[in-house]
Amino acid sequence: MDWGSIFSSALSGMLGPFAAIYALAAIGLNLHFGYTGLLNFGHVAFVMVGAFGVGSAIVKFGLSMWWGVLVAILASAILALILGIPTLRLRGDYLAIATIAAGEALRLFFNSTYLEPLTNGPFGLGPAASQFQNMSPFNGGKIYELGPFHYQGRALWIMVVTWSLVAIACVLMWLLMRSPWGRVLRSVREDELAARSLGKNVYSFKLQSLVLGGVMGGLAGVMWTMDVSTQYPATFDPKVTFYLWVIMILGGAGRIMGPVLGAVVFWFLFGFLDGFLSGLVPGINTGAARIALVGLALMLLMVFRPAGILGNKEEMRLESR
């Protein structure tokens, strides 16, 4: 087993484009679940409408990238309203099933002949990233190396932008959670009835949280499209949502840096397992084995450390609901 290359690729994956994209989406999910207590199991839907919003705007309507980003933000906000208005009055587990169903239904529609004029269905929508890459200060094809880290210029540009967005999102979350608005959200999470009896419009606060977190998911989708350039609806299956949940819980739900730490650790382990498993058992289906281990990790985390690496056990009392 070549430990050097395994660690090198795992370390590169730890900070790579996907870690950044998942961190950004997980910050949105953290706002939903970690701060508001919403059981959103269809977060992939927000990422998908963001990814295809920007993709369709650029490829199908010939708009500039900035309009595409605006379309993506609007699309994910509208999705949050459509999803939230009927379901946020219901008990939490209904929201969970409704969101996962909505995510699946949306993916099937995006893949269908009806929406082919917008999404190209199974044929893939692209190329959408040329305008973004033209702004890059790096040489797209060149490989940049620093110690064990090695990235293509293309990926480096995605990383710089996405990690910057992650940083902005973290600062925004930090400011929001110190504000009265954030305190109301957390009180909704801890005890909805108490918040309501203090005269807060719980429904409205939940909806605001869903929209804001959904837009963060949409932005993650935008960066995803910028990374892969050609998007397929089949990419956005429920697995993405489950990864986001593991990332959030691993890092610590309800903590500002939780999703970021979770994404870094998750993608390190993911990259490491890829090399390690195929070295350990030649010919194994590493994709399946890794996801099985993700499932096991989710169980173990929830049983033994539901608060994650950074979490505060006193604050995240899941038992109370």
Partner: protein, 457 residues
């Protein structure tokens, strides 16, 4: 308690490691889940590996989907032409492949002879018999794929001999069959929710395990009688359900783990089980030996295959049996009492823990039977349970969470809706419509048809 949990976790971990090591031999080259959109359904044209001369090649395969299972089709006539002049023609081999060499790089048209297709399939797009502008590069082979759909599901004219009424009756019958299968699998999910409050996301994996156990025993090399294989599957999954309850959920409940936490744990369990199945069983779609095409029986406008009729009758009998059991027997009454009011049931001397285990065993057994039936009508594959799970959720919520009768009723409605939608809409969307029904129900009547209002909000 902590020690016991630790032991369970350790066992799980060891099991996973063993799985990983053995799976290498079981699925040495199992590819990751093949993207369904890239199998038979696309007219995707891409460059294949370079060979010395130019050629156009392809494989004609049946549609992925109920019964079709993407089987290669032999004897289909394909023609290549350029500017109206025929260049060459070929007939597909037994494995569905065809290759037509072309004289020089350039743009060609590929045409499929629709009349040479078997009656069971048709082109997905009625005007799709010709793929224009296939541009062949020097020294390369181009692949041309014709998207096929099951007869009656494509955009072409429906095959002759079937009247509108017969077609609609047929669709409704397959909807009923699908709904009964969902109902059978959903009862366990609903009863578990009713008695423990847990939304068991791993229930779909019981369905898949059941279908696969029956497949392993019922087909070559073992080829035990199919009835025995089904009974074994029911017993195995019932046992699995009981084991999961005793070794995982009961300790967690005793520990005071919250319902939300348990819900997320069940998602983890579902991912673990599903991908362990993928590792052992591979990603291919398998058919039971019993699921070939049969001579249909005709009753007036109704024509149905004997196998489907058996599935419908057995499902109805089993569902009625479950209903009678819930109404009349001591065990069934205890289950309903527990669903109604746990504390009251416990106070009146019901052994709650035992009843919960019974619910898991019953639910697991029913899921296995449903899985075998689903495998008979579609195919046996690793994530069949997950595909069915969302349909079960839709059925249960439609009928009313926690009520076994609601689960039956709601599931049948969902089955008919999803199959019925194929009359007007493409079959690729049939699950999407069922999920939309779920969301609409949550909007207007969140407690479901038979549910009580207190369960919502």
């Amino acid at each position: 308690m902590r020690a016991r949990l630790g032991a369970i976790v350790l066992t799980l971990f060891i099991a996973v490691l063993t799985a990983l090591t053995t799976a290498a031999t079981a699925s040495a080259a199992a590819p990751d889940r093949a993207d369904p959109s890239h199998t038979a359904a696309t007219d995707l044209i891409r460059a294949a590996d370079a060979s010395s001369a130019e050629a156009i090649t392809g494989t004609v395969k049946g549609p992925v989907g109920e019964g079709g299972a993407n089987a290669p089709i032999a004897g289909v006539v394909i023609t290549v032409s350029q500017n109206g002049a025929e260049i060459g023609t070929a007939t597909t081999a037994d494995d569905g492949t065809w290759t037509i060499p072309v004289p020089a790089p350039g743009d060609y048209e590929v045409t499929i002879d629709v009349s040479s297709l078997p009656d069971t399939v048709e082109l997905r797009k009625a005007d799709g018999q010709t793929i224009p502008n296939i541009s062949v590069q020097p020294n390369s082979t181009k692949v041309a794929v014709f998207p096929l759909a099951a007869a009656g599901e494509g955009g072409g004219a429906s095959s002759g001999g079937v009247t509108q009424t017969e077609y609609i009756v047929g669709v409704l019958l397959s909807g009923l069959r699908f709904g009964l299968i969902i109902a059978m699998t959903a009862i366990g999910l609903s009863l578990v929710f009713g008695t423990t409050g847990l939304i068991n996301f791993a229930h779909g994996e019981f369905v898949a395990v059941g279908a696969i156990v029956a497949f392993l025993f019922g087909t070559a090399p073992l080829q035990w009688p199919f009835i025995i294989a089904i009974l074994l599957a029911i017993a195995a999954v019932g046992l699995l359900g009981g084991l999961v309850e005793i070794s995982l959920w009961r300790p967690l409940r005793k520990r005071g783990v919250g319902l939300i936490q348990m819900f997320i744990i069940s998602i983890g369990l579902s991912l673990l089980l599903r991908h362990a199945i993928l590792l052992f069983f591979g990603s291919q779609r398998n058919q039971y030996a019993q699921s070939g095409t049969e001579q249909s029986l005709h009753f007036g406008p109704v024509s149905i295959q004997p196998r489907d009729l058996t599935i419908i009758i057995v499902s109805i009998v089993v569902l009625i049996g479950v209903a009678v059991m819930l109404q009349k027997t001591r065990m069934g009454k205890a289950m309903r009492a527990l669903s109604d009011n746990r504390d009251l049931a416990e106070a009146s001397g019901i052994d709650v823990q035992r009843v919960i285990v019974q619910v898991w065993v019953l639910g697991g057994g029913l899921a296995a039977l449903g899985g075998v039936f689903y495998g008979l009508t579609a195919a046996v594959y690793w994530d069949m349970g997950f595909n069915l799970l969302l349909m079960m959720f839709a059925g249960i919520i439609l009928g009313g969470l926690g009520s076994a009768y609601g689960a039956m009723l709601g599931s049948i409605v969902i089955g008919v809706v999803s199959q019925g939608s194929t009359i007007w809409f493409p079959s690729e969307l049939q699950n999407a419509w069922a999920l939309l029904v779920l969301i609409v129900v949550l909007l207007v009547r969140p407690q479901g048809i038979l549910g009580r209002l207190q369960r919502a909000g």
